[in-house]
């Protein structure tokens, strides 16, 4: 179907450009490692057992790194006005949006894997018998995050404030993701059974669904001239 082809084209293009510039990935990756480093020095091991707060720190790191990286999504498009050419094509605006969300998701997922590795290394975290479930939790959470962030990145890059506006617009809406994501991650890290987080997964999925659908529906209003 042509729609899917168009979507895939946008996704492919974003990933190829990112592969060749590596701009966002490197800055997000560097940020992740350095923040983990700072956290280690910000917490007094005598008073805080990092295992207790690791889930929260992990999610916040990903949120900050993600905001940093995704904020640049539309900046890169404005050189030579290439995005204008994309908007003038017959490709539906929601296909463009979903393609971008897909690319941002892949990139942030890679950064998440890095974060899990780095936090595991620095703070001696055990990922338990079900690392895939943990990955599922994180993936659902960041899907919703990426959907909102991509939409708001389009908005903020259309303002004079640029991506400094992005956190203000984005963070209040992330509360459900943070609450359920951290709680689920916490339980998994503590070795609790998967059944306990069924509700969390449902809510994270609902969050992702809401984000993706509202983004797809509203993107066209953000980018029209």
């Amino acid at each position: 179907m042509n729609y899917l082809r168009q979507l895939r084209a946008v996704l492919w293009k974003d990933l190829v450009v990112e592969l060749r510039t590596r701009e966002r990935t490197i800055s997000m990756a560097g940020f992740t490692v350095l923040v983990a480093f700072l956290f280690n020095h910000a917490l007094d091991p005598a008073r805080v057992d990092v295992q207790d707060v690791a889930a929260g720190l992990l999610w916040m790191t990903i949120v900050f790194a993600g905001t940093l990286g995704i904020g640049r999504t539309f900046q890169l498009e404005s050189e030579d006005g290439a995005f204008h050419g994309v908007l003038m094509s017959p490709t539906p605006k929601d296909a463009i949006y979903l393609g971008k969300v897909g690319a941002n998701f892949v990139i942030l997922l890679l950064v998440t894997l890095l974060a899990l590795a780095v936090f595991g290394l620095f703070f001696h975290l055990q990922y338990g018998e079900r690392p895939l479930v943990l990955l599922l939790v994180m993936a659902l959470g960041i899907l919703g995050f990426v959907a909102f962030a991509t939409l708001f990145s389009a908005i903020s890059s259309g303002t004079v404030m640029g991506d400094t506006l992005l956190p203000i617009l984005l963070f209040p809406l992330l509360v459900p993701m943070v609450i359920y994501g951290v709680s689920a991650t916490d339980r998994l890290l503590a070795g609790r059974p998967v059944a306990e987080i069924a509700g969390h997964l449902r809510m994270l999925a609902a969050f992702a669904l809401v984000a993706v659908f509202s983004g797809a529906g509203l993107f066209r209003f953000v980018v029209e001239e």
């Binding site: 259309g158 303002t159 617009l169 209040p172 809406l173 609450i179 809510m203 509202s214």
Partner: protein, 232 residues
């Protein structure tokens, strides 16, 4: 036209205003003092109705925004921004009365009580709404961005509410802003109801006048551009 506008606004505004005065009299002289918290509990009759208006206002913002994007009629955006201003004012009232209540009743300025938490988030969503409106070079774009924000905010709010309430159930805290016992005595109920009605009327009156103001502003800008656009 302006005459009609001002009557439609004047009626709820005046009625609301008078009722608010009555409300204050009731709050200070009529309502019995609540046993556990003492005098400060009376702030409840301001705090809770204000919260109701704050959220209702956002619902109006979201609805007007959605129809604005769909139909493109600027008047809907004018209605949305008017409601948003009123909404933000009442949100601020909630955020001022809440900590005041908490401080006097329990000694803490802030508590992560769901209603307060939720209202703080709402305040930031309103802030984002206004910032995005004014941060664009083209005002039309700003209006569209703000409308998108209004809709996304409204869509996410149920999820935010669920998550915040659930979070609190995991981390129970001393119940600071406990408004009432198991049942409200009739005097309290009456005062509370008056609070709801008067604030709502006041809000609609304010919104109406604000809408009129916005309309005049846009008409003036339109006339200016027509005169200024022709070059010699």
């Amino acid at each position: 036209m302006s005459r009609r506008l001002s009557w439609a606004g004047l009626l709820p505004a005046l009625t609301g205003g008078i009722m608010v005065l009555v409300l204050h009299w009731l709050v200070f002289f009529y309502v019995p003092t609540e046993a556990a918290q003492g005098l400060i509990q009376r702030i409840f009759y301001i705090h809770v109705p204000a919260a109701w208006v704050a959220f209702m206002a956002f619902g109006i913002v979201a609805l007007c925004s959605a129809v604005y994007l769909w139909l493109g009629d600027e008047r809907l955006d004018m209605a949305a921004v008017s409601a948003a201003e009123g909404g933000m004012i009442f949100t601020t009232i909630v955020l001022l009365t809440g900590p005041l209540w908490g401080r006097v009743a329990w000694g803490t300025w802030w508590t992560w009580e769901p209603r307060l938490t939720f209202t703080l988030l709402l305040w930031f969503i309103y802030l984002g709404y206004f910032m995005v409106r004014s941060a664009t070079e083209s005002p039309e774009r700003g209006r569209r961005f703000a409308a998108v924000l209004g809709i996304v905010g409204a869509v996410d709010i149920p999820l935010i509410h669920l998550s915040v309430v659930w979070f609190r159930s995991l981390h129970p805290q001393p119940v600071v802003l406990k408004p009432e016992g198991p049942t409200l005595p009739p005097e309290m109920l009456l005062t509370l109801m008056l609070g709801f009605v008067s604030f709502t009327l006041l809000f609609f009156g304010m919104t109406h006048f604000r809408y009129g103001l916005e309309r005049t502003r846009i008409e003036a800008a339109g006339r200016e551009s027509r005169d200024g656009g022709i070059e010699p």
